[in-house]
Structures are given as structure tokens and as C-alpha cells.
């Protein structure tokens, strides 16, 4: 990958002057810890019956959201799935807004109208979290079509799971984006399970996304999704290609979710030892070691950990104190006039 001097020297100091640099590494470490602790807190709040409905956690998958978000520019757009807390937080959406939505409080990102599966923050470039498998891949194409049509420089990034690669919209969107060379990046988070079923049991190829890339004239790209640096580098390459008019990329990130598919799933279908094996490659554990290799002091790391915990605690308390949504929200924003009138 071509290294840009500005990026290579960004925050670097002697001894760790590689393409990523200390400042970006500390940013990515903080981001991963923030996602981990926020989601762990969401799980704890669920057990206290303070998070309602369902939620789908990215515990163990933090490096994917982090690497891609860290490489984005302001104005770039993210399209997420129902497993979208990580991607939303990674764009800078405050923890309180996310937890508030999960707790269905008035301080939530959508004031409780969307819930865990539909996190949206347009001001942060989070153009929605989509809970119908595959639906957002074509929508991301449309956002990229707008950028191409207007000559805007933003890139659209669309995240989805391995299960999505077997639905029609995935294939329609890949072809559509490739034919028109749209500035869109499709990111498959392959966590090995579509929901409860191993993806390999129901897919004709070993790599559900990457092995289909050639059907759309795209490069076969597989990335270590537990290594934020590897994800970041793949993201930079794909963004540069898209911004340069080179069209879409399809990137398969190999990762693993530490929890079940959703709150209802204890994940008993896993073979013995699989989770333990992947936890040895926990992205946050790996990244802490990486920071140490590059000479970051223990107290700097501990300081980030403590600061994140403080912010998660503050957000939790703010959400617990927040009121439920006001009842008038029931009928607002069905139509653009703000209301729900369908007749005169």
C-alpha cells in the first residue's frame, strides 16, 4: 500500500514511525475499548431489565468497526446492520445516545422510536442500521450513485454479516455497484455463524464474500478482522480506490462474536474450545500488545481504560435518570410534514 507522508508522520514518534503512527493507534485502541465497554454495559443493563427488546452485540468484532471508521473522512457514510452499535459508536456518536436508545429513553439517539436495531445519526454519517438482511446494500449503492452523479468526494461504507451473502440483495447490489463503478465499500464481517448455524454449513464456498467477488469482477480480499491495523490498511486502500473513481470493493473480515446472535441466544451450538481459541485473539488484547510493542507505556493504556469506564458509567447514570419518550412521539414523523395524517 502506498504510504502518504502526512499519514505516516501523523502523531508518530521515534521508534513507531510506521504507516499508522501512535496518535492513530491510540485513537483506535480507545475506540475498541469504548465499543467493548459500552456493549458489555448494554448486556449488564439487559440483565437488569433496563435494556428492552432485543440487541445484537459485536463483542469480539470491535476491530472491524474501528479500522473502517478510523480511516473514514468526515462526510463519509456508514450503513450498518441491526448489529450496529459498534459502527455507530465508532463514528463518534456519544455513548449516552446509544445506551439511551437501547434503554428506550427520551435521551436516546432516536428518542426510543427506532430501538437497538435501527441506530441512526445523520450528523455523524450513520445513515441507518438496517434489520432486514441485505436491504441496505442496494441503499448504499444509491448513496454512492448520488456522490458519483454530483461529483461529491464522499465514500459510502456498508457493513453486513456473513449470512447476508446468501440473500439476493447482496448479489444485486454487488453487480449494480460494479457495473456503474460506484464509490461504495462492502464490508463483510465473517463471524462464522449466520445466526445459529455455521455459515460453512449453508454456503457453497469457503469464504462467503471473498469467493463471490470474482463474479462481479472484484478482487478477492480477506482481512484479519481482529487486527485493527490490518482492517485500517485495507480500508485506506479501498477508500483511495473509491475516491479515485476505481469503483467498489468487497472486503471479507474474519472475526468472531464472543456472545450469541442476540440476547435470546446462549450460543450453545459452538464446538468446545472454539470461543476460548478466539478469545486468545481478542482484538483488544491483541491491540494492547501491539501498543506495548510500539513503546506505549502501561499507564497510558490504563489511563484510556479508566477514562472510557468513567464515560460509560456517566452515560449509564444519565440514561437511568432520563425520562421515557413523550407520548406525542407515537404519531410524529410518519410523513415529512411531521405528522401522520393520511386524509383530509
Amino acid at each position: 500500500m502506498a504510504k502518504e507522508p502526512a499519514r505516516a508522520s501523523n502523531g508518530s514518534r521515534a521508534g513507531i514511525n510506521d504507516d499508522i503512527g501512535e496518535k492513530m493507534r491510540l485513537t483506535m485502541y480507545r475506540m475498541q475499548v469504548e465499543i467493548r465497554e459500552s456493549e458489555q454495559r448494554a448486556f449488564d443493563l439487559f440483565l437488569q431489565n433496563l435494556v428492552k427488546g432485543t440487541s445484537h452485540l459485536s463483542l469480539g468484532q470491535e476491530a472491524v468497526a474501528t479500522g473502517f471508521a478510523a480511516a473514514m473522512k468526515p462526510g463519509d457514510l456508514s450503513f450498518c446492520t441491526y448489529r450496529g452499535h459498534a459502527h455507530t459508536l465508532a463514528r463518534g456518536v456519544p455513548i449516552e445516545k446509544v445506551l439511551g436508545e437501547l434503554m428506550q429513553r427520551d435521551n436516546g439517539l432516536m428518542r426510543g422510536k427506532g430501538g437497538s436495531m435501527h441506530l441512526t445519526s445523520v450528523e455523524h454519517g450513520v445513515m441507518g442500521s438496517y434489520a432486514i438482511i441485505g436491504a441496505h446494500l442496494p441503499i448504499a449503492c444509491g448513496a454512492a450513485l448520488r456522490a458519483q452523479y454530483r461529483g461529491d468526494s464522499d465514500v459510502t461504507v456498508c457493513f453486513f454479516g456473513d449470512g447476508t451473502t446468501n440473500i439476493g440483495a447482496f448479489h444485486e447490489a454487488l453487480n449494480f455497484a460494479a457495473v456503474w463503478k460506484l464509490p461504495v465499500i462492502f464490508v463483510c464481517e465473517n463471524n462464522l455463524y449466520m445466526e445459529y448455524t455455521p455459515i460453512g454449513d449453508v454456503t457453497a464456498v469457503e469464504h462467503p464474500a471473498a469467493d463471490r467477488a470474482s463474479a462481479y469482477g472484484l478482487e478477492r480480499i480477506i482481512v484479519d478482522g481482529n487486527d485493527a491495523d490490518a482492517v485500517y490498511r485495507a480500508a485506506i486502500t479501498a477508500y483511495d480506490k473509491a475516491r479515485g473513481g476505481g469503483g467498489p470493493s468487497l472486503i471479507e473480515c474474519m472475526t468472531y462474536r464472543h456472545s450469541g446472535h442476540s440476547r435470546a441466544d446462549p450460543a450453545k451450538y459452538r464446538p468446545d474450545g472454539e470461543l476460548e481459541k478466539w478469545k486468545e485473539r481478542d482484538p483488544i488484547k491483541l491491540y494492547r500488545e501491539r501498543l506495548k510493542q510500539f513503546g506505549i507505556a502501561d499507564d497510558v493504556i490504563a489511563g484510556i481504560d479508566a477514562d472510557v469506564m468513567r464515560r460509560v458509567n456517566e452515560a449509564t447514570e444519565a440514561c437511568k435518570a432520563a425520562p421515557p419518550p413523550s407520548l406525542d412521539l407515537l404519531t410524529t414523523d410518519v410523513y415529512a410534514d411531521g405528522g401522520f395524517a393520511w386524509r383530509n
Binding site: L77, I132, I139, V334
Partner: protein, 325 residues
């Protein structure tokens, strides 16, 4: 003023909006270079070029999804789904994505787009290329739904749909494409949610939509000539928003209500209107409201079967006359 076909009115309506607003783009299957399988979009590619008028792969989900993504980030797309029956293969966008994004995001996301689609029977295409499915769209909160019956209304309602900030499903009737009508010169802009009294009358109100409007008008002429029954015919035009004031006003004058619906009977649009009238104008009525519909069947291909499936002018005359005796 010039005479124009309904099919040519589609192209003129789209062109009017594309000339006005560079954010309007148009795409679908075979719509650009071929000019549409119904030849309703001839000339748009030549006039506006391949960046704004595009031929798509046979990928209905990609077409509607891309329209949504373009709309939510600032464009005003018009997307074509060739036959309205095909809305079933991309119904996620119609049912789950377009109409719910604004609500779920607490007003952050917008979805100003138009889906044009060829609706209705009469071409002997059989059960999967002939349906009237406007009621599929009508039942979904967050959508707007229109179905013009004349060339003038095609242009005016197209302009209203493109300029509307909400997702609009625009049902064009395939059996009306060849029909002609007078169209004024210059820009035509209508408004959504307005029904039109197309034939005043004092004895009964007949509500109709799209292809059923000319049939209701023909029936009204016969009812007057043969039975002395003076019917008011209302072209509903817009199912959402629904112009209940015009409908209730007409019923208050005539005291009788008939609906003429091409959709199959169960949960057709007339059922909702009859329920509104029963609820709000019961004491205006001198007799039970009557729905004249296609039966609860898939549509047959054979011409003699398709012809008796849909409400005809004769069936309307017979049913109204029987009820008014």
C-alpha cells in the same frame, strides 16, 4: 392545448420535472435507450443523457434500494418497476424501508422518491402481469399512493409526486397508455390528495380509480339515458392522502355510494372508503353502500375470462340500477 396519449404524458411529466430540477434522475429496466417496454419514456435518454436516465439490470431490489439511497442523500429519483406485480419481489423497500426510515430515525432520514409502475389488467398477460395492486401500497403507513386516469393528470400528479418530500407510489394503468386526452400547454402541477368530480350528478355517487374512471363515466351516461339515474362520478386519483372531504361532500348531496374497484375484493380501497362513509355519513345514506370489484380471484389470461373479471360499464349499470330501484 394539445391532444396527448397517456403514454406520452408520462414522458412529458418526467421531462417537465427533469428540466426544472437537476436532482431528478430516472432509472429502471429498459427505460433509457429502449424508451420503456410500454414506450412511455421514449426520448428521455436522448434529451437528458445517460447520467440522468439509466438502464438497470433486472434487479428490482437494487433499483428501489438505490432510489432510496439517492433520495436520502439529496437526489429526487424516479424509479420504474416495469409491472406492478413485480413490487412483490422488492416489497421490502415498499413495506419496510421507504415508509419507516423517517419514523424510526425520529425524523433524521428523508425519502423523497417516486416509484412508477405499470398496473392493471386488459392485456391478457395472465395472473402475474395484470394485477391492480394499489391496495398493497395503500395499507402501509408512510407511503403516498396515486393512480391517474387521464394524460393531464399523469403530468400534474407526476409533478406533485416528484416535488413531494415523501415516497410516492405512482400507478400507471397499462390499458390507459394508448388513450388520449386534452393537455394544456406549459407546466402542469397538481396536488396529491385531491379527488376530482369528473361528472356532476344528483342521484348517486360513483367512486372510481384509473381504468375504472372511463368505465364509470360510460356507465353514468347509460344510467342517465336508459334509467334516468343521474350519477356523480368522482375520480379518487389519490388513495393516500385521501380526499375524504370531496367524497363525503358528494355522498351528502346524492345520498348513495358506489365504488368501482379493479383490485380484488378483499381489502380493496373501496372497503376503507365505505367504512369511512358508514362511520361519518351514515345518516346521509338512503341505501347501503355497494362495492363493485374484481372477484377474489387471480386474473385469467383468456380474453373472455379477463373481460368478465373486471367491472365493466354494463356491470356498473346493472348493479347501480338494481340498487336504486
Amino acid at each position: 392545448m394539445a391532444e396527448l396519449t397517456y403514454r406520452d404524458a408520462v414522458a412529458r411529466g418526467i421531462a417537465q420535472e427533469m428540466e426544472r430540477d437537476p436532482d431528478v434522475i430516472f432509472f429502471g429496466e429498459d427505460v433509457a435507450k429502449p424508451g420503456g417496454v410500454f414506450k412511455a419514456t421514449v426520448g428521455l435518454y436522448e434529451q437528458f443523457g445517460g447520467r440522468r436516465v439509466r438502464d438497470c439490470p433486472i434487479s428490482e431490489q437494487a433499483i428501489l434500494g438505490a432510489a432510496m439511497g439517492a433520495a436520502m442523500t439529496g437526489l429526487k429519483p424516479i424509479a420504474e418497476i416495469m409491472f406492478s406485480d413485480f413490487l412483490a419481489v422488492c416489497f421490502d423497500y415498499i413495506a419496510n424501508e421507504f415508509p419507516k426510515s423517517r419514523y424510526m430515525s425520529n425524523g433524521q432520514l428523508k425519502c423523497p422518491l417516486v416509484v412508477r409502475t405499470g398496473n392493471g389488467a386488459g392485456s391478457r398477460f395472465g395472473a402475474q402481469h395484470s394485477q391492480s395492486v394499489e391496495n398493497w401500497a395503500m395499507m402501509i403507513p408512510g407511503l403516498k399512493v396515486v393512480a391517474p386516469s387521464t394524460p393531464r393528470d399523469v403530468i400534474g400528479l407526476m409533478a406533485a409526486a416528484v416535488r413531494d418530500p415523501d415516497p410516492v407510489i405512482f400507478f400507471e394503468h397499462k390499458s390507459l397508455y394508448a388513450t388520449k386526452g386534452e393537455v394544456p400547454d406549459g407546466e402542469i402541477v397538481d396536488q396529491l390528495g385531491s379527488a376530482k368530480i369528473v361528472r356532476p350528478g344528483k342521484d348517486a355517487t360513483i367512486l372510481a380509480l384509473a381504468l375504472m374512471v372511463p368505465r364509470a363515466l360510460a356507465a353514468a351516461d347509460k344510467l342517465k339515458a336508459e334509467h334516468g339515474i343521474d350519477c356523480e362520478v368522482v375520480d379518487v386519483r389519490s388513495l393516500v392522502p385521501l380526499d375524504t372531504q370531496t367524497i363525503l361532500g358528494s355522498v351528502a348531496r346524492t345520498h348513495r355510494l358506489f365504488t368501482v374497484e379493479e383490485n380484488p375484493r378483499l381489502c380493496g380501497w373501496g372497503a376503507e372508503i365505505v367504512s369511512i362513509v358508514a362511520d361519518e355519513a351514515f345518516y346521509d345514506l338512503d341505501g347501503p353502500p355497494v362495492r363493485i370489484t374484481t372477484p377474489h380471484i387471480p386474473l385469467p389470461a383468456a380474453d373472455i375470462l379477463e373481460d368478465i373479471a373486471l367491472p365493466t360499464a354494463d356491470r356498473i349499470v346493472e348493479r347501480v340500477h338494481r340498487s336504486m330501484q
